[in-house]
């Protein structure tokens, strides 16, 4: 037993004591807080302070102007309609991407991220080229059906659908992937139809993810600018109105609308945080 070759070949000691960075922990925390404060908290505070600086009355007055109200209303209803369509189609796409085997699936799975990667301004350009008044599709809708696509709410909704498409898919897909196949099998052996299985077994499991994805795409739609400013500079959604006011130097009006948009966005963020933390609890 003494023939092991490992008996000490020299005294192996640790290098000299390094300073132990408990300051490192604090330093990192400090850096994170400062960065987020400077880049995120400050703009939020600035907008709110600026919006309310001249008092509630002026704030209210610049909010209830027809142009401002119309812009906010247009933003809200187009975003809401988009969210409804997007939740249905996004869930369906996620379902197809997870549960069906078909050629080209990998390409499709890549393609659905395109709206994340492409500049939204370019999205606007593409949509005008496809649906604009001079194009075959645009003129068909305009002349035969009397529906204007571009420079009208339908164009806004199409742009928002494009921009918001990946949100629901990317929220729902991972949850579907982790679903136990056994549950579906059990439901099927009990004689449940496909639709019943989806409604009672699959949907309850993905509901929080659907809500999260829907809310995120709604929030994104409220703030969307690049695609919409090309597709419909008029009628004005809130961000386009805001841009016009800033360009025109009308800071009070810009600030008031900003505060409202921020408030909605903030409520959505809090809701998402709540849904997510409950889901993971």
């Amino acid at each position: 037993m003494t023939s092991y070759p490992l008996n000490p070949t020299g005294n192996i000691s640790l290098p000299a004591r390094r300073t132990q960075p408990s300051w490192g922990k604090w330093g990192l925390r400090f850096a994170a807080i400062i960065y987020l404060a400077a880049f995120v908290a400050v703009p939020v505070i600035v907008i709110n302070v600026e919006g309310l600086r001249s008092g509630w009355e002026l704030f209210w007055a610049s909010l209830v102007r027809p142009a401002a109200l119309n812009a906010i209303w247009l933003t809200l209803w187009t975003a809401a309609l988009m969210t409804v369509i997007n939740v249905v189609m996004g869930t369906l796409t996620a379902y197809v991407l997870v549960s069906y085997r078909f050629p080209g699936k990998e390409i499709l799975n890549t393609l659905v991220d395109l709206p994340f990667a492409i500049p939204t301004l370019v999205t606007g350009v593409m949509l005008v080229l496809l649906y604009g008044p001079q194009t075959p599709i645009g003129s068909f809708f305009d002349k035969s059906l009397g529906i204007k696509l571009i420079f009208a709410p339908p164009g806004i909704i199409i742009a928002l659908l494009f921009v918001g498409y990946p949100f629901v898919i990317r929220a729902v897909q991972p949850v579907l992937l982790t679903l136990e196949p056994n549950q579906q099998d059990a439901a099927q052996t009990l004689g449940a139809s496909d639709w019943y299985t989806f409604r009672r077994v699959i949907f309850p499991a993905i509901r929080p993810a659907v809500v999260t994805g829907g809310l995120l795409s709604f929030a994104r739609a409220l703030g969307e600018f690049g695609a919409i400013v090309i597709v419909a500079i008029r009628p004005q959604v809130a961000t386009v109105y805001l841009y016009g006011q800033v360009e025109g130097g009308n800071m009070q009006a810009a600030s008031a609308v900003s505060v409202v948009l921020l408030l909605i966005a903030f409520i959505i963020t809090l809701t998402v945080d709540l849904v997510e933390s409950r889901r993971h609890a």
């Binding site: 003494t2 070759p5 490992l6 000490p8 070949t9 192996i12 640790l14």
Partner: protein
Amino acid sequence: MSITLDKITKSYGKQIIVNDVSLEIKTGELFVLLGASGSGKSTLLRLIAGLLPADNGRVSLDGRDVTDLPPQERNTGFVFQNYSLFRQMTTAQNIGFGLDIRKQPRALVDKRVNELLQLIGLDGLGDRMPWQLSGGQQQRVALARALAYQPSVLLLDEPFGALDVKIRAQLRQNLREIQKALNVTTILVTHDQDEAFELADRIGIIEGGKLLEVGTPNTLYRRPQTRFAATFLGAANLIPGQRNGTHVYLGKTSLVAPPQTDHLSGQPVELLIRPEEVELALKREDLQGQLVGRGIVQQVGFAGPFERVVVRLDDHNFEPIQVLLSPEKVRSLAIEINSPVWVGLRDYHLLPANCP
């Protein structure tokens, strides 16, 4: 003393995980901390390594008070249950990591890595990635990695927990040989009493964060001081009685009190009887140990190399007694259910009736 723990305490919130543990471990000793899951044994090991800070108490390694030192400066070797090899490094890089940290020359590192690979029986596999190794091989690499820089103590946290029975037995043997050859002071944490018996120079039994009892495997098995140790280390018959004078009284039966139990004189006690120390006979005079009384066989069952027999004693209302007999003995006594038998004891031990 190679490892000295002095009143170590650790809690999370209101829950005390490690409660006032003091312990001394000699150089070269292999000490096994045995406890159920949640007993605090792994936490204690992490406190020794400095991976967790202790709330109270001192830790000394090799006579050096390391209580306030971070894990980096305690010079321990730690082996984790799930191996925790660095998966982006080869086997050789894993083993050499601690030496690189200590800025050893390349040639020396290579030499020692090769020696260690030989020691653990994996020569030639230095270029493999961890995921190309079997579980048992990964475990051995983890051991070599922890030994490479000659730590002052080796700490093993359930090192064989994730392995199947056959490999486990083989690795225990290897560990024991390596540990003795290198004479490295070692603490091994496990919930498996067989592992503890096979490896330990001494065992410490931990329960609810408290170190209940420390002793050699033999002492703890045969002469435990606590009810918990008695039952945790194997099957036990516990029979209530009273020690008076030189005898223990169990109802109408009396037995000679075992040596070194005078301090229990005049107290209610529990008689600890290991099933393999119970004797059965057809005639009273065939018994070699102390007579307890007559009984009726209630069950006979197969238990691998032994037969498990359950006997209810006449004239007593305590629990039926568990007995382990060789199959040959069962045959020669022609034992079956409802056979009357004489019951005797070859060895027994006393516990105070109200001990933990």
